[in-house]
Structures are given as structure tokens and as C-alpha cells.
Symmetry: C2
Subunit: 270 residues, 2 copies
Amino acid sequence: MSLALLINGRAPADPSLALSAEDRGLHYGDGLFETALIDAGKVRFLQSHLDRLFSGCERLGLPVPERTQLLNEITNVVGEVQVGVLKIVLTRGVGDRGYRPARAAQTTRIVALYPHTKRPPEAVTARWCETRLGRNARLAGMKHLNRLEQVLAQQEWDDPLIGEGLMLDTEGELVCATASNVFIVREAVLATPDLRFCGVEGVMRSQVLRAAAQLGLAVNEEPLWPHDVEMASEVFLTSAVRGIRPIAALDSLRWNASPIASKLSAALQL
Amino acid sequence: MSLALLINGRAPADPSLALSAEDRGLHYGDGLFETALIDAGKVRFLQSHLDRLFSGCERLGLPVPERTQLLNEITNVVGEVQVGVLKIVLTRGVGDRGYRPARAAQTTRIVALYPHTKRPPEAVTARWCETRLGRNARLAGMKHLNRLEQVLAQQEWDDPLIGEGLMLDTEGELVCATASNVFIVREAVLATPDLRFCGVEGVMRSQVLRAAAQLGLAVNEEPLWPHDVEMASEVFLTSAVRGIRPIAALDSLRWNASPIASKLSAALQL
């Protein structure tokens, strides 16, 4: 359960009875979300989260929220909390039956605080997911509310020792993990899937790309395949909430060291 | 707005404040829906709607609702209404943050009645949509809540004279219209896209396939392309709510008669 919640700027009397049964976020997944880490009382990379959210609004034709208002709501919800997770959900609001949005959509804006325990980044045991990601450039990169593929992928395993699952698209290209982006290191070059067909352009992914360039590391966004993971000297996951986590094991593959991941974590003060 | 609404069997005091802000239907589109026509006080093809809903539950790993309970809720919501639309939404219920469903999901069940004016089936002017459908066999056929592609497609036009838009998948195959299935007639053979990669297996589509077989019409579910539409002697749309509607115009194409559509409408008493 969330610790604090505002809907359109107000705290509902009862968060379990807060939303309209006719919200288009529910009926069609017609909206976007952000999940950010609160650390030392600050929302980390807030600017990047808001930039992605606003760019998603433009792509979906959703009214862009008023920045100052949204920032006030975030400040209000975060309060004095030092460590937590901030979630923002934006939907096209209440609508009549039918896919077509009303001309003057009144968006629904949910700002919620969730508990979180910050742990030192630990190496992850990962698996390959059987659930594939459909390709659609029209939706690629956005953190929209159509997330059934990720739900089905996470349903594939319940071994608590497995921390993440890598996902391929329907053509077999590597895209991401269920809730993280993925990077590999090959001959001292950093590479990550280019997400031209699917996947979310993660905020931590962008930070890592920027930090790598500043550190003088060669870095490519390009099509990658399972073979590239198998040949990599290092594989790591990125997420705004979980930071940078090296993969230590993937089926029969093992990686013992993650010098690039460590260098990037240090550069980003994770 | 809906005329009557039950959530988990209860009428909320205020339908605009009825749902949890943490429902997984909202956060991930993690659920299914049905939209059925109420005509002469009866829900038409109710059995087929429930069969599809329950089959979707099995595919998504959602608990299948208790049939008698759901039927009672439908009876309760429909009341004495003669003509209307029944909408059922089923989600994986309230969950914690994260894609992974809780082991014991308590589904959210929404049963709602919407107004509807029954019109004699009129021929439709249609267009080709630019928005494509991503391919993912894992989700194909289900009427799930991930419907952003349909929302974007219906946003493409606002000319009220255009009644529907035909949609291709990312490889250019014909799939459906934004809120209907599509059939073509070619040399007296009826054909409809096979939906192996995407699209919804419409209840009216199934009824038409069954009625066609009973009438002795040759009928195929197969891959179709825009070229097949251009060569067709007849093209029509099917929807549980709108029935069978011939396409009269599509860009520069014109069709003047729809004998097969008329025969099927009569056979199905639409």
C-alpha cells in the first residue's frame, strides 16, 4: 500500500475508493507512469523523470501537466521521508465508452509514495523469459500503462533467488529485463539495446549513457541478441529505483567481476 | 456515464469515487473486458461473451469469476432496460507496486450498463489507420485492457462521416478495425484475418463464422493484406454492439451492394 497519495492534488478520504470506475487508465491503459527513487529526502533524477513523462504526453496527445503544480504535489507527498519510491500515474481521465478520447480530456494525476528499503547494489541471478515483447515503434520507449507483457513475464518464475528476467522481442532481439534496462560490455565497449521497436527508455539508462560518455567509455545503442549477452565480459541491469546491478548468473553463464558497473555506480553516486 | 454499475457486486455510493488508486487494471492494464449488446431486454450472445472472458482469465492466470454470481450481477445491472450496452471489466485487483501479481489476487469485477441507441445497420465509410498493431501471439485474440493502439488509431481522425478505421499489423497484414473485426468476400468465399499475431477474437466474428458455415458459405480464417480488401466484392465489419455493417467506401474504393452481409445479418437476427 502507498504511504501517501494525492489524486488531482487531493488526498482521498479513502484511497481504496478514490478513482472513477470510468477512468480510461483502467479501461484502456490510456496513460503513463514514472517510478523514481527518493534518497536522502530528494527525488533522484526528477528532471529526467518529468522530461520523459512530458514527452510521453506529447506522443499520446495527453495534456501536459502544469510543472509547478506537479512539483508541489510531489513535495507534498514526499514530505520528510528520506528513502522511498515516488510513483506518478497520469491517465486521460474519465471518459465515455469507446476508444476515442474526448476533445477536452481532464487528466487524472496520481502522485503516490511507497515504502522502500535501500540496499547496497547486489549482483543478480537472472533468467531468460519466455514471454516476448511485441514490436511497435509507435509505443517504443514510453513508460505507458499497457504492461501486460511484463506482468506475464514476471509470472513465469517464483524462485526468490532469481532477481530479474531478460526479455526478447518477438523476433528474438534482446530488449530489456522485466523492470530494468540491460547493458553489456564487449571488448571494453558498452552496449545497450536501441529500443527502436519496444522497451522503455529508462531514466537510469539515460544517466548511464551520459555518465559513460563523461568517463570516456565507448558506448553504443544498437540491436543486440542473446548471443551478445553470452559473449559479454560484463552484463548489468539499470533501474531508477534499484540503481545499477550486475548480473552474476544467467542459466549456465557466470560473471565474477563488474568493474564497469562499479565505475558507473560511483560516477552516478548510487 | 454508465446508468448502473456494480463493483464486486456492490453499487458504489459515488461511482466517481469507487475504485482503488492501486488497482492493477489501472497500473498495468492487467485485466480483461467484454462489451455486449442488450436488445429486447436480453444480453445477446451472453454465453459467448462469458466463454471468451473465462478463456482470457485462464490465459492471464486470473481467477475465473464464479459464473452464477456474475450472472446475478448482470441481471441486477441490466434490470428492465430493453436496449443498452453491458460492459464487464475484470482486473487482477489491488496490488503492491511491481509487475508480479500477488499469489492470491482478489480480482476487481465491474459490471456496468451504458445507454445505447439501436440503429438499423448502415453502411460505413472507412479509412486506413496509420497506427499499426504490434504482433504478440501471447496476447492475440484476448480482449485485454492494453488498448493504447486502438486509442491512438481512433485519434487519427475526427470526421464524423468516417465510421471506422481499418488496422494493419507492423508487418502490413490486415487485422481488424479499431473496434470491429473485418470480413471480405472474394469470388463468393468469405474470409477474415486469422488473428494469429494480434487482434481480438470478436464475439460477433465467431457468430458470423458459425452462421456462414450453417448457410453453406465457404469461409476461411487466413492471413489477409490490403490488396485482398481492394480486390473484394464485399467488405463488412462485425461487432457485438454494432452488429454487421458493410463498408461502402474506403478511400477511393466503393462497394454498392452487400448481399452476404445482409444474409448473415438475417441469419443472426441482428
